[in-house]
Protein backbone atom coordinates (compact mmCIF):
# COMPACT_ATOMS: atom_id res chain seq x y z
CA UNK A 1 0.00 0.00 0.00
CA UNK A 2 1.39 3.39 -0.90
CA UNK A 3 0.78 6.59 1.02
CA UNK A 4 -0.48 9.15 -1.43
CA UNK A 5 -0.79 12.89 -0.99
CA UNK A 6 -1.90 15.16 -3.80
CA UNK A 7 -1.64 18.92 -4.28
CA UNK A 8 -2.88 20.47 -7.48
CA UNK A 9 -3.25 23.83 -9.18
CA UNK A 10 -4.30 24.99 -12.63
CA UNK A 11 -1.18 23.69 -14.38
CA UNK A 12 0.37 20.91 -12.28
CA UNK A 13 -0.56 17.97 -10.07
CA UNK A 14 1.83 16.88 -7.33
CA UNK A 15 1.75 13.25 -6.16
CA UNK A 16 3.75 11.77 -3.34
CA UNK A 17 4.18 7.97 -3.18
CA UNK A 18 5.67 6.83 0.07
CA UNK A 19 5.91 3.10 -0.53
CA UNK A 20 5.52 1.02 2.63
CA UNK A 21 6.21 -2.29 0.81
CA UNK A 22 8.70 -4.04 0.68
CA UNK A 23 10.37 -1.80 3.32
CA UNK A 24 8.97 1.30 4.97
CA UNK A 25 10.67 4.51 3.78
CA UNK A 26 12.97 2.61 1.44
CA UNK A 27 11.81 4.48 -1.63
CA UNK A 28 10.11 7.88 -1.62
CA UNK A 29 8.77 9.14 -4.96
CA UNK A 30 7.51 12.62 -5.79
CA UNK A 31 5.84 13.30 -9.17
CA UNK A 32 4.93 16.56 -10.84
CA UNK A 33 2.45 15.89 -13.63
CA UNK A 34 1.33 18.40 -16.22
CA UNK A 35 -2.43 18.83 -16.22
CA UNK A 36 -4.19 18.09 -19.47
CA UNK A 37 -7.28 20.06 -20.25
CA UNK A 38 -10.10 18.25 -22.04
CA UNK A 39 -11.91 21.10 -23.75
CA UNK A 40 -9.02 22.86 -25.42
CA UNK A 41 -7.74 19.91 -27.55
CA UNK A 42 -11.29 19.23 -28.84
CA UNK A 43 -11.60 22.79 -30.08
CA UNK A 44 -8.15 22.78 -31.67
CA UNK A 45 -8.75 19.45 -33.46
CA UNK A 46 -12.16 20.64 -34.63
CA UNK A 47 -10.65 23.82 -35.98
CA UNK A 48 -7.86 21.90 -37.76
CA UNK A 49 -10.41 19.51 -39.34
CA UNK A 50 -12.53 22.44 -40.51
CA UNK A 51 -9.45 24.08 -42.03
CA UNK A 52 -8.48 20.93 -43.97
CA UNK A 53 -12.10 20.41 -44.98
CA UNK A 54 -12.36 23.96 -46.32
CA UNK A 55 -9.09 23.56 -48.25
CA UNK A 56 -10.38 20.29 -49.74
CA UNK A 57 -13.62 22.02 -50.71
CA UNK A 58 -11.60 24.78 -52.42
CA UNK A 59 -9.55 22.20 -54.29
CA UNK A 60 -12.31 19.87 -55.43
CA UNK A 61 -15.18 22.30 -56.03
CA UNK A 62 -13.44 25.56 -56.92
CA UNK A 63 -10.45 24.07 -58.72
CA UNK A 64 -7.73 25.53 -56.50
CA UNK A 65 -4.37 23.69 -56.78
CA UNK A 66 -3.57 20.71 -54.53
CA UNK A 67 -0.93 22.69 -52.68
CA UNK A 68 -3.78 24.44 -50.83
CA UNK A 69 -4.68 21.15 -49.16
CA UNK A 70 -0.99 20.56 -48.46
CA UNK A 71 -0.66 23.97 -46.79
CA UNK A 72 -3.78 23.49 -44.71
CA UNK A 73 -2.54 20.11 -43.46
CA UNK A 74 0.77 21.76 -42.57
CA UNK A 75 -0.97 24.62 -40.75
CA UNK A 76 -3.19 22.18 -38.88
CA UNK A 77 -0.16 20.17 -37.80
CA UNK A 78 1.58 23.36 -36.57
CA UNK A 79 -1.49 24.36 -34.54
CA UNK A 80 -1.74 20.93 -32.94
CA UNK A 81 1.98 20.82 -32.16
CA UNK A 82 2.22 24.22 -30.54
CA UNK A 83 -1.10 24.37 -28.78
CA UNK A 84 -1.72 20.78 -27.68
CA UNK A 85 1.44 18.70 -27.84
CA UNK A 86 3.30 18.58 -24.55
CA UNK A 87 6.94 17.55 -24.94
CA UNK A 88 7.27 16.75 -21.22
CA UNK A 89 4.37 15.14 -19.36
CA UNK A 90 5.86 14.27 -15.98
CA UNK A 91 8.95 14.87 -13.86
CA UNK A 92 9.76 12.64 -10.90
CA UNK A 93 12.19 12.46 -8.04
CA UNK A 94 12.88 9.05 -6.52
CA UNK A 95 14.56 9.38 -3.15
CA UNK A 96 16.37 6.40 -1.64
CA UNK A 97 17.66 7.50 1.77
CA UNK A 98 21.32 6.70 2.44
CA UNK A 99 21.72 5.64 -1.18
CA UNK A 100 20.90 8.42 -3.62
CA UNK A 101 18.40 10.42 -5.61
CA UNK A 102 17.10 9.68 -9.12
CA UNK A 103 15.74 12.51 -11.29
CA UNK A 104 13.40 11.45 -14.11
CA UNK A 105 11.87 13.34 -17.02
CA UNK A 106 9.00 11.59 -18.87
CA UNK A 107 8.43 12.81 -22.44
CA UNK A 108 5.22 12.70 -24.44
CA UNK A 109 6.84 10.41 -27.00
CA UNK A 110 7.36 7.75 -24.29
CA UNK A 111 11.09 8.44 -23.76
CA UNK A 112 12.29 8.71 -20.14
CA UNK A 113 15.48 10.53 -19.18
CA UNK A 114 16.98 9.44 -15.87
CA UNK A 115 19.87 10.73 -13.83
CA UNK A 116 21.09 9.15 -10.62
CA UNK A 117 23.02 11.16 -8.05
CA UNK A 118 24.63 9.25 -5.15
CA UNK A 119 23.97 10.75 -1.73
CA UNK A 120 27.68 11.32 -1.11
CA UNK A 121 27.82 13.80 -3.98
CA UNK A 122 24.93 15.93 -2.74
CA UNK A 123 26.03 18.81 -0.55
CA UNK A 124 22.65 20.41 -0.02
CA UNK A 125 19.22 20.81 -1.65
CA UNK A 126 18.27 24.49 -1.98
CA UNK A 127 15.14 26.43 -2.83
CA UNK A 128 16.18 29.34 -5.02
CA UNK A 129 14.33 32.33 -6.38
CA UNK A 130 15.04 32.43 -10.08
CA UNK A 131 14.82 35.95 -11.54
CA UNK A 132 14.51 36.43 -15.31
CA UNK A 133 13.96 39.70 -17.20
CA UNK A 134 10.20 39.03 -17.22
CA UNK A 135 9.35 37.00 -14.17
CA UNK A 136 10.48 35.48 -10.89
CA UNK A 137 9.77 31.91 -9.78
CA UNK A 138 10.96 29.35 -7.27
CA UNK A 139 13.13 26.43 -8.30
CA UNK A 140 14.53 23.51 -6.35
CA UNK A 141 18.17 22.64 -7.01
CA UNK A 142 20.93 20.46 -5.66
CA UNK A 143 24.42 21.61 -4.79
CA UNK A 144 26.64 18.84 -6.14
CA UNK A 145 30.21 18.26 -5.04
CA UNK A 146 32.79 19.23 -7.68
CA UNK A 147 30.27 20.89 -9.94
CA UNK A 148 30.21 24.64 -10.55
CA UNK A 149 26.54 24.92 -11.37
CA UNK A 150 23.38 24.05 -9.50
CA UNK A 151 21.54 20.94 -10.71
CA UNK A 152 17.85 21.59 -11.14
CA UNK A 153 15.63 18.88 -9.72
CA UNK A 154 12.75 19.75 -12.09
CA UNK A 155 14.40 20.73 -15.35
CA UNK A 156 11.44 21.66 -17.51
CA UNK A 157 8.63 22.41 -15.09
CA UNK A 158 8.27 25.41 -12.75
CA UNK A 159 5.84 24.13 -10.15
CA UNK A 160 4.63 26.45 -7.36
CA UNK A 161 6.35 26.69 -3.98
CA UNK A 162 3.69 24.65 -2.13
CA UNK A 163 4.63 21.65 -4.30
CA UNK A 164 8.38 22.20 -4.00
CA UNK A 165 8.50 22.43 -0.21
CA UNK A 166 7.58 18.77 0.57
CA UNK A 167 10.14 17.58 -2.00
CA UNK A 168 12.79 19.87 -0.50
CA UNK A 169 12.05 18.66 3.02
CA UNK A 170 12.23 15.03 1.89
CA UNK A 171 15.56 15.69 0.15
CA UNK A 172 16.95 17.41 3.25
CA UNK A 173 15.91 14.48 5.39
CA UNK A 174 17.37 11.92 3.00
CA UNK A 175 20.69 13.70 2.55
CA UNK A 176 20.92 14.39 6.27
CA UNK A 177 21.08 18.18 5.97
CA UNK A 178 19.71 20.19 8.87
CA UNK A 179 17.37 22.94 7.75
CA UNK A 180 19.03 26.17 8.75
CA UNK A 181 16.02 28.38 8.14
CA UNK A 182 12.57 27.94 9.54
CA UNK A 183 9.91 30.02 8.02
CA UNK A 184 6.40 30.85 9.06
CA UNK A 185 3.92 30.98 6.29
CA UNK A 186 1.28 33.66 6.26
CA UNK A 187 -2.22 32.37 6.73
Amino acid sequence: MADLSIISNARFIYKHDNHKFPLPHAVDTHHIILRRSVVKPIFIYLFAILLVGYAAFLHFEKGKPATTVGWSLFLGAILVKFLIWRPVVKESVVIMPEFGVQLETHYGSGRINRRFIPVSKILKPVLNEHVTPVTCCWCLSLLIRDENELTLVFKKFRPPLKMLVPVWKALCFATDCKESFEFQEDG
Partner: protein
Amino acid sequence: MELKEGKHRILMVSDFFYPNFGGVENHIYLLSQCLLKLGHKVVVMTHAYGNRSGVRYMTNGLKVYYVPWKPFLMQNTLPTFYGTLPIIRTILIRERISLVHGHQAFSTLCHEALMHARTMGYKVIFTDHSLYGFSDIGSIHMNKVLQFTLADVSQAICVSHTSKENTVLRSGLPPEKVYVIPNAVDTTMFKPAPERLCMDPIVIVVISRLVYRKGADLLVEVIPEVCHLYPNVRFIIGGDGPKRVRLEEMREKHSLQDRVDMLGAVPHAKVRSVLNSGHIFLNSSLTEAFCIAILEAASCGLLTVSTRVGGVPEVLPDDMIVLAKPDPSDMVHAIKKAIRILPHIDPQEMHLRMKEMYSWHDVAKRTEIVYDHALRCSNQTLLERLPRYLTCGAWAGKLFCLVMIIDFILWRLLQLWQPDSEVEPVPDFKPTELKRG
Protein backbone atom coordinates in the same frame (compact mmCIF):
# COMPACT_ATOMS: atom_id res chain seq x y z
CA MET B 1 4.84 37.04 9.97
CA GLU B 2 2.03 39.56 9.76
CA LEU B 3 3.14 43.19 10.02
CA LYS B 4 1.77 45.24 12.89
CA GLU B 5 -0.95 47.82 12.42
CA GLY B 6 0.35 50.87 10.58
CA LYS B 7 3.41 49.13 9.18
CA HIS B 8 3.93 49.07 5.44
CA ARG B 9 5.54 46.89 2.80
CA ILE B 10 7.73 49.17 0.71
CA LEU B 11 9.48 48.60 -2.62
CA MET B 12 12.47 50.89 -3.18
CA VAL B 13 13.31 51.21 -6.88
CA SER B 14 16.37 52.80 -8.43
CA ASP B 15 19.10 52.08 -10.94
CA PHE B 16 21.59 53.13 -8.29
CA PHE B 17 22.30 50.63 -5.54
CA TYR B 18 25.20 48.64 -4.12
CA PRO B 19 27.71 47.43 -5.32
CA ASN B 20 27.82 50.83 -7.01
CA PHE B 21 28.85 53.47 -4.47
CA GLY B 22 27.43 56.96 -4.03
CA GLY B 23 25.03 59.27 -2.20
CA VAL B 24 21.79 57.81 -3.59
CA GLU B 25 22.90 54.23 -2.95
CA ASN B 26 23.88 55.04 0.61
CA HIS B 27 20.61 56.89 1.18
CA ILE B 28 18.48 53.96 -0.03
CA TYR B 29 20.44 51.44 2.05
CA LEU B 30 20.50 53.40 5.31
CA LEU B 31 16.86 54.51 4.99
CA SER B 32 15.83 50.87 4.34
CA GLN B 33 17.76 49.65 7.39
CA CYS B 34 16.11 52.24 9.64
CA LEU B 35 12.66 51.41 8.23
CA LEU B 36 13.30 47.71 8.91
CA LYS B 37 14.13 48.60 12.52
CA LEU B 38 10.82 50.49 12.77
CA GLY B 39 9.02 47.28 11.81
CA HIS B 40 8.25 47.84 8.13
CA LYS B 41 9.12 45.41 5.37
CA VAL B 42 11.46 46.77 2.70
CA VAL B 43 12.43 45.24 -0.65
CA VAL B 44 14.86 46.94 -3.05
CA MET B 45 14.76 46.55 -6.82
CA THR B 46 17.62 47.50 -9.10
CA HIS B 47 19.32 46.22 -12.23
CA ALA B 48 21.93 43.47 -12.32
CA TYR B 49 25.56 44.51 -11.86
CA GLY B 50 27.75 42.20 -13.93
CA ASN B 51 27.54 38.77 -12.34
CA ARG B 52 25.38 39.95 -9.46
CA SER B 53 21.93 38.98 -10.67
CA GLY B 54 18.91 37.47 -8.90
CA VAL B 55 17.88 37.77 -5.27
CA ARG B 56 20.30 38.77 -2.51
CA TYR B 57 19.72 39.34 1.17
CA MET B 58 21.56 42.09 3.03
CA THR B 59 21.80 42.90 6.75
CA ASN B 60 18.58 42.49 8.78
CA GLY B 61 16.90 40.63 5.95
CA LEU B 62 16.83 43.44 3.42
CA LYS B 63 15.88 41.68 0.18
CA VAL B 64 17.34 43.02 -3.06
CA TYR B 65 16.19 42.03 -6.53
CA TYR B 66 18.95 42.46 -9.09
CA VAL B 67 16.79 42.22 -12.23
CA PRO B 68 18.80 41.06 -15.27
CA TRP B 69 18.19 44.09 -17.49
CA LYS B 70 21.41 45.37 -18.97
CA PRO B 71 22.43 48.95 -18.15
CA PHE B 72 23.02 50.99 -21.29
CA LEU B 73 24.19 54.46 -20.27
CA MET B 74 25.71 55.63 -16.98
CA GLN B 75 24.27 52.76 -14.94
CA ASN B 76 20.77 53.26 -16.35
CA THR B 77 18.60 50.39 -17.62
CA LEU B 78 17.57 50.55 -21.27
CA PRO B 79 14.23 52.42 -21.35
CA THR B 80 11.73 50.16 -23.12
CA PHE B 81 8.54 51.80 -21.74
CA TYR B 82 6.66 48.55 -21.27
CA GLY B 83 9.43 45.93 -21.08
CA THR B 84 9.68 45.97 -17.32
CA LEU B 85 5.90 45.66 -16.74
CA PRO B 86 5.83 41.85 -16.27
CA ILE B 87 8.71 41.66 -13.76
CA ILE B 88 7.53 44.68 -11.78
CA ARG B 89 4.00 43.24 -11.59
CA THR B 90 5.38 39.88 -10.43
CA ILE B 91 7.51 41.47 -7.72
CA LEU B 92 4.68 43.72 -6.50
CA ILE B 93 2.26 40.79 -6.18
CA ARG B 94 4.62 38.21 -4.71
CA GLU B 95 6.03 40.55 -2.05
CA ARG B 96 2.54 41.95 -1.30
CA ILE B 97 3.84 45.50 -1.61
CA SER B 98 1.66 48.38 -0.48
CA LEU B 99 3.83 51.32 -1.53
CA VAL B 100 6.46 51.99 -4.22
CA HIS B 101 9.26 54.49 -3.50
CA GLY B 102 11.41 55.58 -6.46
CA HIS B 103 14.74 57.38 -6.17
CA GLN B 104 16.59 59.78 -8.45
CA ALA B 105 15.24 61.55 -11.51
CA PHE B 106 18.05 60.21 -13.67
CA SER B 107 17.05 56.56 -13.18
CA THR B 108 14.99 55.07 -16.04
CA LEU B 109 14.07 51.99 -14.00
CA CYS B 110 12.59 54.28 -11.36
CA HIS B 111 10.39 56.13 -13.87
CA GLU B 112 9.16 52.92 -15.48
CA ALA B 113 8.45 51.30 -12.11
CA LEU B 114 6.48 54.33 -10.91
CA MET B 115 4.46 54.41 -14.14
CA HIS B 116 3.58 50.71 -13.94
CA ALA B 117 2.84 50.90 -10.21
CA ARG B 118 0.40 53.76 -10.81
CA THR B 119 -1.31 51.83 -13.62
CA MET B 120 -1.77 48.89 -11.24
CA GLY B 121 -3.25 51.15 -8.57
CA TYR B 122 -0.38 51.30 -6.05
CA LYS B 123 0.55 54.47 -4.20
CA VAL B 124 3.90 55.89 -5.29
CA ILE B 125 6.46 58.22 -3.72
CA PHE B 126 9.38 59.84 -5.51
CA THR B 127 12.56 61.23 -3.96
CA ASP B 128 14.68 63.65 -5.94
CA HIS B 129 18.33 63.76 -4.95
CA SER B 130 19.87 66.23 -7.39
CA LEU B 131 19.44 69.66 -8.90
CA TYR B 132 19.07 69.93 -12.66
CA GLY B 133 19.22 72.77 -15.13
CA PHE B 134 16.52 74.09 -17.42
CA SER B 135 18.26 75.26 -20.56
CA ASP B 136 20.34 72.50 -22.13
CA ILE B 137 18.83 69.82 -24.35
CA GLY B 138 19.48 66.97 -21.89
CA SER B 139 17.78 68.82 -19.05
CA ILE B 140 14.76 69.77 -21.17
CA HIS B 141 14.10 66.14 -22.03
CA MET B 142 14.75 64.96 -18.50
CA ASN B 143 12.34 67.54 -17.14
CA LYS B 144 9.63 66.38 -19.55
CA VAL B 145 10.05 62.81 -18.38
CA LEU B 146 9.94 64.02 -14.79
CA GLN B 147 6.72 65.94 -15.50
CA PHE B 148 5.17 62.73 -16.79
CA THR B 149 6.18 60.67 -13.79
CA LEU B 150 5.29 63.28 -11.22
CA ALA B 151 1.95 64.18 -12.85
CA ASP B 152 0.36 61.34 -10.94
CA VAL B 153 2.64 60.67 -7.97
CA SER B 154 1.06 60.41 -4.50
CA GLN B 155 3.77 62.36 -2.67
CA ALA B 156 7.30 63.58 -3.40
CA ILE B 157 10.32 64.10 -1.15
CA CYS B 158 13.24 66.45 -1.71
CA VAL B 159 16.46 66.65 0.25
CA SER B 160 16.51 70.43 0.77
CA HIS B 161 14.26 73.46 0.27
CA THR B 162 16.36 74.55 -2.71
CA SER B 163 15.85 71.11 -4.20
CA LYS B 164 12.10 71.40 -3.56
CA GLU B 165 11.98 74.69 -5.45
CA ASN B 166 13.98 73.16 -8.31
CA THR B 167 11.77 70.05 -8.51
CA VAL B 168 8.52 72.02 -8.32
CA LEU B 169 9.63 74.35 -11.13
CA ARG B 170 10.88 71.53 -13.33
CA SER B 171 7.89 69.25 -12.94
CA GLY B 172 4.94 71.54 -12.28
CA LEU B 173 4.05 69.54 -9.17
CA PRO B 174 1.96 71.42 -6.56
CA PRO B 175 4.29 72.39 -3.68
CA GLU B 176 1.84 70.98 -1.08
CA LYS B 177 2.68 67.50 -2.33
CA VAL B 178 6.43 67.89 -1.78
CA TYR B 179 8.02 67.16 1.59
CA VAL B 180 11.54 68.19 2.56
CA ILE B 181 13.49 65.52 4.41
CA PRO B 182 17.23 66.18 4.45
CA ASN B 183 19.78 63.41 4.25
CA ALA B 184 21.66 62.41 7.39
CA VAL B 185 25.04 61.02 8.35
CA ASP B 186 26.07 57.94 10.29
CA THR B 187 27.66 59.67 13.27
CA THR B 188 28.79 56.38 14.79
CA MET B 189 31.07 55.85 11.81
CA PHE B 190 32.31 59.44 11.44
CA LYS B 191 33.94 60.37 14.73
CA PRO B 192 36.77 62.85 15.36
CA ALA B 193 40.23 61.59 16.25
CA PRO B 194 40.54 60.92 20.01
CA GLU B 195 43.38 63.41 20.31
CA ARG B 196 43.26 66.83 18.72
CA LEU B 197 45.74 67.35 15.87
CA CYS B 198 48.41 69.95 16.42
CA MET B 199 47.90 73.22 14.56
CA ASP B 200 51.12 73.19 12.62
CA PRO B 201 50.86 72.39 9.75
CA ILE B 202 47.20 73.21 9.11
CA VAL B 203 45.81 70.49 6.84
CA ILE B 204 42.99 71.22 4.39
CA VAL B 205 41.20 68.10 3.11
CA VAL B 206 39.33 67.80 -0.20
CA ILE B 207 37.45 64.57 -0.95
CA SER B 208 35.30 64.57 -4.07
CA ARG B 209 35.08 63.26 -7.59
CA LEU B 210 37.43 65.40 -9.65
CA VAL B 211 34.91 66.50 -12.28
CA TYR B 212 33.68 69.86 -13.54
CA ARG B 213 30.45 69.74 -11.51
CA LYS B 214 32.39 69.37 -8.28
CA GLY B 215 34.47 72.48 -8.99
CA ALA B 216 37.84 70.86 -9.61
CA ASP B 217 38.76 73.84 -11.79
CA LEU B 218 38.28 76.17 -8.82
CA LEU B 219 40.70 74.08 -6.79
CA VAL B 220 43.36 74.56 -9.47
CA GLU B 221 43.16 78.34 -8.88
CA VAL B 222 42.69 78.33 -5.13
CA ILE B 223 45.37 75.91 -3.94
CA PRO B 224 48.49 77.73 -5.23
CA GLU B 225 47.17 81.05 -3.86
CA VAL B 226 46.57 79.64 -0.39
CA CYS B 227 49.93 77.85 -0.36
CA HIS B 228 51.63 81.13 -1.26
CA LEU B 229 49.84 83.10 1.50
CA TYR B 230 50.27 80.51 4.27
CA PRO B 231 53.56 78.58 4.36
CA ASN B 232 52.26 76.27 7.09
CA VAL B 233 49.20 75.00 5.16
CA ARG B 234 49.10 71.57 3.46
CA PHE B 235 46.44 70.05 1.22
CA ILE B 236 45.24 66.45 0.99
CA ILE B 237 43.16 65.67 -2.10
CA GLY B 238 41.24 62.39 -2.22
CA GLY B 239 39.26 61.26 -5.26
CA ASP B 240 39.70 60.62 -8.91
CA GLY B 241 38.26 61.81 -12.19
CA PRO B 242 38.93 63.51 -15.50
CA LYS B 243 40.20 66.72 -13.84
CA ARG B 244 42.91 64.93 -11.91
CA VAL B 245 45.37 65.70 -14.68
CA ARG B 246 44.84 69.45 -14.23
CA LEU B 247 45.55 69.20 -10.52
CA GLU B 248 48.73 67.21 -11.14
CA GLU B 249 49.85 69.88 -13.62
CA MET B 250 49.14 72.58 -11.05
CA ARG B 251 51.31 70.71 -8.54
CA GLU B 252 54.18 70.49 -11.00
CA LYS B 253 53.89 74.09 -12.13
CA HIS B 254 54.05 75.57 -8.62
CA SER B 255 56.38 72.89 -7.16
CA LEU B 256 53.86 71.92 -4.50
CA GLN B 257 54.65 68.19 -4.41
CA ASP B 258 55.54 68.27 -0.71
CA ARG B 259 52.56 70.44 0.22
CA VAL B 260 49.77 68.85 -1.84
CA ASP B 261 49.11 65.07 -1.46
CA MET B 262 47.02 63.35 -4.13
CA LEU B 263 45.57 60.14 -2.72
CA GLY B 264 43.58 58.94 -5.72
CA ALA B 265 40.21 57.21 -5.25
CA VAL B 266 39.46 56.75 -1.55
CA PRO B 267 37.19 53.80 -0.61
CA HIS B 268 34.30 54.91 1.60
CA ALA B 269 35.57 52.89 4.53
CA LYS B 270 38.81 54.91 4.52
CA VAL B 271 37.17 58.35 4.26
CA ARG B 272 37.02 58.74 8.03
CA SER B 273 40.74 58.26 8.50
CA VAL B 274 41.50 60.75 5.72
CA LEU B 275 39.14 63.31 7.28
CA ASN B 276 40.68 62.77 10.72
CA SER B 277 44.06 63.78 9.36
CA GLY B 278 42.84 67.33 8.59
CA HIS B 279 41.57 70.51 10.25
CA ILE B 280 39.52 72.09 7.47
CA PHE B 281 37.30 70.51 4.79
CA LEU B 282 37.08 72.29 1.46
CA ASN B 283 34.08 71.77 -0.86
CA SER B 284 34.13 73.57 -4.19
CA SER B 285 31.02 72.13 -5.89
CA LEU B 286 29.34 74.23 -8.54
CA THR B 287 25.95 72.67 -7.80
CA GLU B 288 24.65 70.57 -4.94
CA ALA B 289 21.11 69.68 -3.82
CA PHE B 290 22.41 68.67 -0.42
CA CYS B 291 26.00 67.81 0.44
CA ILE B 292 26.52 64.70 2.52
CA ALA B 293 30.30 65.16 2.27
CA ILE B 294 30.21 68.26 4.47
CA LEU B 295 28.01 66.44 7.00
CA GLU B 296 30.63 63.71 7.20
CA ALA B 297 33.37 66.31 7.63
CA ALA B 298 31.46 68.16 10.35
CA SER B 299 30.76 64.88 12.13
CA CYS B 300 34.52 64.30 12.20
CA GLY B 301 35.02 67.73 13.76
CA LEU B 302 36.41 69.58 10.72
CA LEU B 303 35.57 73.19 9.98
CA THR B 304 34.03 73.40 6.50
CA VAL B 305 34.69 75.93 3.75
CA SER B 306 32.24 75.61 0.89
CA THR B 307 30.77 77.36 -2.12
CA ARG B 308 27.35 78.90 -1.50
CA VAL B 309 25.43 76.87 -4.10
CA GLY B 310 22.17 74.95 -4.15
CA GLY B 311 21.18 73.48 -0.81
CA VAL B 312 24.58 73.86 0.89
CA PRO B 313 23.59 76.87 3.10
CA GLU B 314 20.78 74.74 4.61
CA VAL B 315 23.04 71.96 5.77
CA LEU B 316 25.16 73.33 8.64
CA PRO B 317 24.74 76.12 11.22
CA ASP B 318 26.73 79.31 10.56
CA ASP B 319 29.39 78.62 13.15
CA MET B 320 30.39 75.30 11.55
CA ILE B 321 30.76 76.48 7.96
CA VAL B 322 32.30 79.39 6.04
CA LEU B 323 30.54 80.05 2.73
CA ALA B 324 31.95 81.74 -0.37
CA LYS B 325 30.89 82.52 -3.90
CA PRO B 326 32.15 79.98 -6.47
CA ASP B 327 34.98 82.35 -7.37
CA PRO B 328 38.69 81.75 -6.62
CA SER B 329 39.38 85.07 -4.81
CA ASP B 330 36.26 84.76 -2.65
CA MET B 331 37.19 81.20 -1.74
CA VAL B 332 40.71 82.23 -0.75
CA HIS B 333 39.15 84.90 1.46
CA ALA B 334 36.89 82.29 3.05
CA ILE B 335 39.87 79.99 3.72
CA LYS B 336 41.67 82.89 5.39
CA LYS B 337 38.66 83.39 7.67
CA ALA B 338 38.49 79.69 8.45
CA ILE B 339 42.17 79.56 9.41
CA ARG B 340 41.57 82.54 11.70
CA ILE B 341 38.66 80.94 13.55
CA LEU B 342 40.14 77.42 13.58
CA PRO B 343 41.63 77.62 17.14
CA HIS B 344 38.13 78.28 18.54
CA ILE B 345 36.69 75.07 17.07
CA ASP B 346 36.24 72.04 19.31
CA PRO B 347 35.92 68.84 17.20
CA GLN B 348 34.26 66.76 19.94
CA GLU B 349 31.64 69.43 20.60
CA MET B 350 30.95 69.68 16.85
CA HIS B 351 30.50 65.93 16.65
CA LEU B 352 28.02 65.91 19.54
CA ARG B 353 25.97 68.67 17.94
CA MET B 354 25.90 66.77 14.63
CA LYS B 355 24.75 63.67 16.49
CA GLU B 356 21.74 65.57 17.77
CA MET B 357 20.95 67.34 14.51
CA TYR B 358 21.20 64.51 12.01
CA SER B 359 20.26 60.87 12.30
CA TRP B 360 18.94 58.33 9.84
CA HIS B 361 16.36 57.16 12.37
CA ASP B 362 14.88 60.65 12.29
CA VAL B 363 14.83 60.55 8.46
CA ALA B 364 13.04 57.18 8.61
CA LYS B 365 10.39 58.47 11.03
CA ARG B 366 9.72 61.50 8.83
CA THR B 367 9.55 59.27 5.74
CA GLU B 368 7.07 57.07 7.58
CA ILE B 369 4.78 60.11 7.99
CA VAL B 370 4.99 60.72 4.22
CA TYR B 371 4.08 57.06 3.61
CA ASP B 372 1.05 57.38 5.89
CA HIS B 373 -0.12 60.45 3.99
CA ALA B 374 0.40 58.71 0.66
CA LEU B 375 -1.67 55.71 1.69
CA ARG B 376 -4.51 57.99 2.74
CA CYS B 377 -4.79 59.37 -0.83
CA SER B 378 -7.90 58.17 -2.59
CA ASN B 379 -7.83 55.36 -5.15
CA GLN B 380 -8.55 56.65 -8.60
CA THR B 381 -9.52 54.91 -11.82
CA LEU B 382 -7.70 55.43 -15.11
CA LEU B 383 -10.29 57.91 -16.39
CA GLU B 384 -9.96 60.04 -13.26
CA ARG B 385 -6.17 60.06 -13.58
CA LEU B 386 -5.84 60.86 -17.29
CA PRO B 387 -6.73 64.60 -17.03
CA ARG B 388 -3.59 65.12 -14.91
CA TYR B 389 -1.42 64.04 -17.81
CA LEU B 390 -3.17 66.39 -20.22
CA THR B 391 -1.82 69.39 -18.27
CA CYS B 392 1.76 68.42 -19.14
CA GLY B 393 1.71 70.18 -22.47
CA ALA B 394 -0.16 70.61 -25.75
CA TRP B 395 1.38 67.61 -27.52
CA ALA B 396 3.15 65.97 -24.61
CA GLY B 397 -0.07 65.74 -22.61
CA LYS B 398 -1.83 63.72 -25.30
CA LEU B 399 1.21 61.54 -25.85
CA PHE B 400 1.46 60.78 -22.12
CA CYS B 401 -2.25 59.89 -21.99
CA LEU B 402 -1.75 57.48 -24.88
CA VAL B 403 1.27 55.89 -23.14
CA MET B 404 -0.79 55.36 -19.97
CA ILE B 405 -3.77 53.92 -21.87
CA ILE B 406 -1.53 51.43 -23.68
CA ASP B 407 0.10 50.53 -20.34
CA PHE B 408 -3.35 49.87 -18.86
CA ILE B 409 -4.35 47.66 -21.80
CA LEU B 410 -1.08 45.71 -21.60
CA TRP B 411 -1.61 45.22 -17.87
CA ARG B 412 -5.11 43.80 -18.42
CA LEU B 413 -3.81 41.46 -21.14
CA LEU B 414 -1.09 40.31 -18.78
CA GLN B 415 -3.74 39.63 -16.13
CA LEU B 416 -5.64 37.45 -18.63
CA TRP B 417 -2.47 35.56 -19.55
CA GLN B 418 -1.35 35.07 -15.98
CA PRO B 419 -4.02 35.92 -13.37
CA ASP B 420 -2.94 37.56 -10.10
CA SER B 421 -3.86 34.43 -8.15
CA GLU B 422 -1.24 32.42 -10.05
CA VAL B 423 1.62 34.53 -8.69
CA GLU B 424 2.52 32.96 -5.35
CA PRO B 425 3.20 35.31 -2.43
CA VAL B 426 6.63 34.82 -0.88
CA PRO B 427 6.59 33.54 2.70
CA ASP B 428 8.24 35.97 5.14
CA PHE B 429 11.50 34.55 6.39
CA LYS B 430 12.56 35.06 9.96
CA PRO B 431 16.08 33.65 10.35
CA THR B 432 16.34 31.65 13.56
CA GLU B 433 19.50 31.22 15.58
CA LEU B 434 21.99 29.02 13.71
CA LYS B 435 22.46 25.84 15.68
CA ARG B 436 26.10 25.41 16.64
CA GLY B 437 27.14 21.78 16.82
